[in-house]
Amino acid sequence: MNELDLGKEGVTGINQRLYGLPKNTNERHWSIRNPMGQHAIACGLDAPLHVEVHGHVGFYCGGMNKEAELIVHGHAGVGVAENLMSGLVWIKGNASESAGATGNGGLLIIDGDASSRCGISMKGIDIVVGGSVGHMSAFMAQRGNLVVCGDAGDALGDSIYEARLYVKGKVASLGADCIEKEVREEHLADLARLLERAERKDNPADFRRYGSARKLYNFNVDHADAY
């Protein structure tokens, strides 16, 4: 394990060290100390690294990550794993708003609660939240799976496209064009796979599924109130 001290090297110093590694590097394991809530820690990783951050991070941690596994032993600020491309971002504490925003692929796991707008405009990312998510989660979500083991706040899945939302607890309210849908075998299989990857013991059969009613895809004057 290679150790990096953010207090000494700063965010840019650490990020440059990690970008500079060749894809086939043997130095795959990195540990970052003293994150001090700074922004943009370990953004833009582009190699199959395993990076662990010890402490709480600020905004946009792990954004645009490709291939790497990033573990944060603490809380994550706004926009964690924003635009995730592939790989894994795992937050062991809670996360602030807009977690996994616009993510294209990969997996984001949040052991605690996520705040509002979790998975906003998600485009293929899978997100597993051990606790609850806040209001406007999965707003305009296009693709991917959002799994919530706790409750969901108001306006879940507002103006959703084709993403799949699974909630075990209560949903405060559904957003425009978001409806409850039947849970079929393929959904149970997806859920089982994602819960297992997040090392969770929840039973897939306890979740309800929500998705798009597909009524807002094209403008229709009869639905003007819903836009």
């Binding site: 001090m36 600020g58 600020g77 504490g93 605690g112 705040s115 509002s116 806040g134």
Partner: protein, 300 residues
């Protein structure tokens, strides 16, 4: 932008270090608000029959002794002053309303920035680090403190437009965000007898709270009514005699994070402000929910 920070000490042993613990928190928020900064610190409670005023004048050489002597003579009271930067802490056994009236009549150039039994408010234009040094806050002892770093959007960069804004005895408000209905609300509050020093939106929110509290509302009720009547986006941090309260607008537009350990409770716009506190690495950290009132230290 703007940054807000608050620190409430649960462990009384830390009280001598309040100012030193808070300094890096406020300075960390400099790039969210480099225009001006201010703090409200709760310390040195005065006797029951006394009242403490935080006064300010733009001239650092202003003759506060003369003002104090004039007050004692006119109102036949005792008064002491402590000059700190271009502010002055005045403690007197005269009636609060009488002092305010006297100041308005004889020293309209002096601004009353706060009053109560424990609160002291200091605010000034300039970088947070400079403002902090100017008011000797490094060594400050106390129970709790809230602060603001301002990036002005709604009104001019002036000391009067800096936060915190007083909202009544030992109460003050700092704000991150902007209000959209403050002009109309200011007119309505003027009709109710409230007075304004600036065109600032936060001053309207503070006056609204003051008006509600004077009408007999509890702090919690005033904040709940504020969620209905104040339009815009905001995170408010309200300092009270024995703690603080936090509330965010119903869609939680502006950032906010809370942290708690056995020794302290802290609130900030961004966690990096809290990261400087001892034990922050092991603190419980979460984001406050929208339209929900959080309070520490009772009172609400």
């Amino acid at each position: 932008m703007c940054g807000i920070v608050g620190l409430y000490l649960k462990n009384p042993k830390l009280q001598p270090k309040l100012g030193a613990m808070f300094k890096p928190m406020l300075i960390e928020m400099t790039n969210r608000g480099p225009d001006s900064a201010g703090v409200a610190i709760y310390r040195n409670p005065v006797k029951k029959n006394e009242v403490k005023f935080s006064l300010a004048h733009d001239d650092p050489a202003y003759d506060w002794r003369k003002l104090c002597a004039g007050l004692e003579k006119s109102l036949k009271c005792d008064a002491t002053i402590r000059k700190i930067g271009n502010h002055c802490i005045l403690v007197t056994n005269a009636k609060e309303a009488a002092v305010e009236k006297w100041l308005e009549r004889h020293h309209p150039e002096v601004r009353v920035v706060g009053s109560g039994h424990t609160i002291e408010i200091f605010k000034e234009v300039g970088l947070p680090a400079q403002v902090y040094d100017k008011f000797d806050l490094d060594e400050a002892k106390g129970t709790h403190i809230i602060g603001h770093t301002r990036m002005a959007t709604e009104s001019a960069v002036t000391t009067a437009g800096s936060h915190p804004f007083a909202t009544g005895a030992d109460l003050c408000l700092v704000h991150n965000g902007s209000l959209s209905n403050h002009n109309r609300l200011r007119e309505n509050l003027r009709r109710e007898g409230m007075e304004f020093q600036t065109e600032n939106d936060t001053e309207v929110a503070a006056a609204y709270m003051t008006w509600k509290l004077r009408g007999g509302a509890t702090l919690k009720e005033a904040l709940e009514d504020g969620i209905e009547d104040l339009d815009g986006f905001y995170t408010f941090l309200v300092g009270t005699a024995d703690g603080f309260a936090v509330v965010r607008d119903p869609i939680a537009c502006k950032h906010a994070v809370m942290a708690e350990t056995g020794d302290w409770v802290a609130m900030a716009t961004e966690y990096r402000a809290i990261a400087h506190l001892p034990g922050a690495d092991d603190a419980k950290i979460w984001e406050p929910e929208p339209a929900t009132i959080y309070t520490w230290g009772g009172h609400a």
